[in-house]
């Protein structure tokens, strides 16, 4: 058991730090959360600068430890989040890299890395959420095209995306998991309608996407026809990997800020509040250790994060909610003021136990795939 880094890793960290110190001061101002075109430009612009500095493909090619250092240092320095690049860099990109043909990789990967194209994820449907394999969006073969009709929902960044990684049913007769295919759909194709949905935070972070006889070239299918479920599992295993490294670093900093705020406003004298802060400190330190443990495991095992990510997701999403509930305790009446950053963060934390597999689904995964308990009937 070793928590120290190799000289090469430390060198990578030092170089990245030096570059961040130079690059961050002339970053344009962060656009308002409501201005999607500006947010898109901002997020892509940052990815472009990472690319030019040689850090673009750190999510794919680097060792898990180097990826951890990258995410840790960029967060520490206050660099922008992946933002609109999330699906491209962390879902669609890795899937295409793993499962795509040479031509597909050449077409789609460079624009993701250079920060030129935004991807969204069209998996969930009105009738297929936790039970993703129930999806019904239909793709009928017509010559060199699929003709796609159906509806997707909760599609993050759909408004500003160029491409959608789309799950469609290509064989309605086959057993549920065997009739699905994975398509790259251009969002400007005829028949695609995006209708933004307002979240409880008031923002439009996700959308409904209606598909009416949309023609998608067969050449845009990644993986074999009807094999999309397996291709998807590759994607989801990436989603449950190192995606939260930066957030854990950020949460520890927020805890420090909460403690200072509590001391300033007098709530620090409440032993129950201090106890809560102390327990959160223990939890987030341990979540950082769990990240290091999982990364070390991935490094030893060759890269793809396993179901152990479910344990992390389960604890982390609850810890994050507890963090912002505690922030509300620290703020008192001011916690009702949306002008306080922590209030908005408290609202967004509510999605953590739902998005990317609900806590109940994570518990099912842990119980069935790690503990080997029988599936329910």
């Amino acid at each position: 058991m070793d928590l120290s880094y190799t000289p090469e890793e430390e060198e990578f960290r030092a170089r990245l730090r030096a570059w961040l110190a130079k690059a961050l001061p002339d970053l344009p101002p962060k656009p308002p959360a409501t201005d999607w075109p500006a947010r898109r430009a901002y997020d892509l612009g940052w990815q472009g600068r990472l690319h030019d500095a040689g850090y673009a493909d750190v999510h794919w090619d680097a060792s898990p430890t180097v990826r951890l250092i990258f995410l840790e240092e960029t967060e520490r320095a206050g660099a922008p989040y992946v933002g609109a690049n999330f699906v491209g860099l962390l879902h669609a990109g890795p899937t295409i890299a793993a499962e795509g043909t040479a031509a597909q990789r050449a077409r789609w990967l460079p624009p993701i890395l250079r920060g030129e194209e935004v991807w969204c994820q069209g998996f969930s449907e009105p009738g297929a959420g936790s039970d993703l394999a129930a999806l019904r969006t239909r793709a009928r073969r017509d010559g060199d095209d699929y003709v796609v009709s159906g509806a997707k929902i909760w599609t993050s960044h759909a408004e500003v995306a160029d491409w959608c990684e789309l799950l469609v049913r290509t064989d309605p007769e086959a057993p549920r998991h065997r009739g699905i295919s994975w398509l790259a759909m251009p969002m400007d194709a005829l028949g695609v309608t995006v209708r933004p949905l307002r979240t409880l935070a008031g923002s439009t972070e996700f959308a409904e996407v209606f598909l009416d006889e949309v023609r998608v070239p067969v050449a845009n299918r990644v993986g074999a026809e009807h094999d999309g479920w397996r291709v998807t599992m590759v994607t989801l295993s990436f989603e449950r990997g190192t995606a939260f490294v930066g957030e854990v670093v950020a949460c520890l900093r927020v805890l420090g800020e909460l403690a200072r705020e509590a001391r300033a406003n007098g709530r620090w004298d409440d032993p129950a509040l201090r106890r809560r802060l102390g327990l959160l400190h223990a939890e987030f330190r341990a979540l950082w250790r769990l990240t290091q443990w999982n990364v070390s495991e991935a490094q030893a095992g060759g890269g793809v994060p396993g179901v152990g990510g479910s344990v992390f997701k389960l604890r982390y999403s609850h810890a994050r909610q507890e963090l912002y509930d505690t922030a509300a305790d620290v703020l008192g009446a001011a916690s009702l003021d949306l002008g306080r950053g922590w209030t908005a963060d408290r609202l967004s934390s509510l999605s953590y136990t739902i998005a990317a597999g609900t806590s109940q689904i994570q518990r099912n995964i842990v119980a069935e795939r790690i503990l080997g308990l029988p599936k329910g009937r």
């Binding site: 520490r76 420090g256 109940q360 518990r363 029988p374």
Partner: protein, 321 residues
């Protein structure tokens, strides 16, 4: 960074588990429950295996290993419900004659309690006037001592007062952090073991025509037990690597929780059987309760961790490596 067990560490863990299964299996456990005497033969065998001398330098006749190895060995002891003043004797190795070899059994006063006082050859701390308690744990005889004015109570109380300058306030609790960490390791062993017992029962026991483990209410109890154990595991192992008192305080909180809550949930999964003397679950729960009383109270640990949040390094994001 390679935060995983090494080959040698895996071998040490497997060897310890094998030794304990052979020397302290189900029958020995039950015999000990009926007659809680310390098995001197087993104690010497533990000594010979290096249990107590593990961290002593080889030059002093020790094994020359570190805290990470000690934590793995104590985790196994916790799993097996191994009785005796293990932590006290381990800490006495190199200081009390014969402790390292298992010839001398060492007990220690911890706050107002002493475990295994009557069976010990040596007691560390002032145990004058100690009175036997009717211990809740059939495998841990307990004595109560009146804490003297200079005893740990006083520094603990001092800690409870708000520090003038939080950055300068002492972060260490008035307890040996290594003792706290080894206790956490034992608790981790309990957490892992009760999780296994719960899963085993949930797969075997059928009601309503299916294994009870197919019911989500049961399944999710088991999943949460595992999550609590794994988060405690990385906290304990990391604290063993860094030796940082804050890491240790956090690890102890998480491990106490994983052991006590885990044993409770395990009892629930066992139904009426879990409420019996025959079923081992109560032994794990009671031991977890005993260990949770060691050292400073959980509130003091949480307090330390809260106070540490005021350090500049935390808001600068450089608090952890």
């Amino acid at each position: 960074m390679r935060f995983q067990l090494t080959e040698d560490q895996r071998a040490l863990r497997a060897g310890t588990r094998e030794l304990l299964a052979r020397r302290f299996g189900p029958e020995a456990l039950r015999a000990a429950v009926e007659e809680p005497r310390l098995d001197r033969g087993l104690w010497r065998e533990l000594g010979a295996a290096g249990f107590f001398a593990l961290r002593l330098p080889e030059a002093d006749g020790g094994v020359g290993l570190g805290l990470p190895e000690a934590v793995l060995v104590f985790e196994e002891a916790g799993r097996a419900l191994l009785p005796g003043p293990l932590v006290a004797t381990h800490l006495a190795a190199g200081q009390v004659q014969g402790a390292d070899t298992g010839e001398t059994v060492v007990a220690a006063v911890d706050g107002s309690l002493v475990e295994w006082l009557a069976e010990a050859d040596t007691v560390r701390g002032d145990a004058t006037g100690a009175e036997p308690l009717h211990s809740v744990d059939p495998l841990t005889p307990l004595h109560a001592v009146r804490p003297s004015p200079a005893a740990p109570e006083a520094p603990a109380a001092a800690l409870l007062a708000a520090p003038e300058d939080p950055a300068a306030a002492p972060l260490t609790a008035p307890e040996d952090p290594v003792a706290a960490l080894l206790t956490a390791a034992e608790q981790l062993g309990t957490a892992g073991r009760v999780g296994e017992l719960a899963v085993r029962h949930a797969r075997a026991r059928e009601q309503f025509g299916q294994p009870i483990g197919a019911f989500q209410a049961v399944k999710h109890l088991c999943a949460d037990m595992l999550a609590r154990t794994e988060i405690a595991r990385v906290a304990v192992y990391a604290a063993a690597v860094t030796g940082d008192p804050l890491d240790i305080a956090g690890a102890r909180l998480l491990a106490d929780e994983a052991a006590v809550r885990g044993a409770r949930d395990c009892l629930q999964v066992h139904g009426g059987m879990g409420f019996t003397w025959e079923c081992d679950v109560h032994l794990h729960l009671k031991r977890a309760w005993v260990r949770a009383q060691r050292g400073v109270p959980a509130t003091v640990r949480a307090r330390e961790l809260a106070d540490a949040l005021l350090a500049d390094s935390v808001v600068q994001g450089s608090g952890l490596r």
